[in-house]
Symmetry: C2
Subunit: 182 residues, 2 copies
């Protein structure tokens, strides 16, 4: 079956500080018309940062949509003029104060493919023992914690970490570490 949908008309229906919402009129594969609503996003990065003792640097952060403090790996939005890897190194340093090295890709993550084009570039890395100060955005509040890697894997498998990107990146990192590819 043919699956592609063609854009007939694209309209921006909301532009805020973070969200850019579009409502497009499309032609479906059978020739009929429909509407597609979605958010346009510049993309993002996330990283599994491992200390030499195989602890993960995690961040605890209040996520307003679910009104919940969530445990996640460090992450951030892509800025213009930065590659995903440059962005990842900067975000890691800003959120945790740690310098990362030996970065390895864990692939891409599209979190909600039905209505956001956001692609998250996932990495894992090692971090140096010495930390500098966090350097957060004015509206960013988060606590950094070191948790043993095996414990984080257990938490993912026991459904104690709802954040999607964290679940994927941790389980992929586990396969790489177990297969001694890193």
């Amino acid at each position: 079956m043919k699956l592609e949908e063609k854009t007939i008309k694209s309209e921006q229906v909301y532009k805020g500080v973070l969200l850019e919402i579009y409502r497009d009129e499309v032609e479906l594969p059978d020739g009929t018309k429909s509407l597609r609503e979605y958010n346009k996003h510049p993309g993002a990065v996330c990283v599994v940062p491992l200390t030499k003792d195989n602890e993960v640097l995690m961040v605890r952060q209040f996520r307003y949509p679910n009104k919940e403090v969530m445990l996640e790996i460090p992450a951030g939005k892509l800025e213009k003029g930065e590659t995903p890897l440059e962005n990842c190194k900067r975000e890691l340093k800003e959120e945790t104060g740690a310098n990362g090295y030996s970065f390895m890709t864990l692939g891409s993550y599209i979190g909600l493919c039905a209505y956001s084009d956001e692609i998250v570039h996932m990495y894992m890395c090692r971090v140096e023992d010495t930390f500098s100060q966090q350097c957060l955005d004015s509206d960013e509040f988060l606590n950094v914690e070191k948790i043993p890697f095996d414990r984080v894997v257990e938490m993912v498998l026991n459904n104690q970490i709802p954040d999607g990107k964290t679940q994927v990146a941790i389980l992929k990192a586990k396969y790489l570490l177990d297969s001694k590819k890193i």
Copy 2:
């Protein structure tokens, strides 16, 4: 550090057929004010459906935001009055024509915690050998494929499946199958 943010004012800035976008004024942990924009969503389900030969029933679907045909496990939005499990059984049957049994939870998935409150309830199940007809929404076009489970795991690990919920659910299902918990 205190992390909670308090709602000062909540405003709906867009209501479409799928998206409901809010812009809230909030009080940050340090007492200053900021804005949070997000989508309110009723929640969803997804499922890893396995045949007796350990093949996964997957769907190939055009995802408009990324203008890409994506390979995913069956999924759908929660409808009023249905439990996640009831919803999951219905969506599986509608999208693939298959009857599922021996459902097991794979936990929750929050795909983009920064700006959508959507929680996806993940499951795995077995499917009967006999299939009935697909029963799709009028604007839904998808192809069903059977792919060996080990091949899908390989595709996730080789970064050939960008869909987040599919990556998580497949990797968690792998742990359950390997640990003989299912």
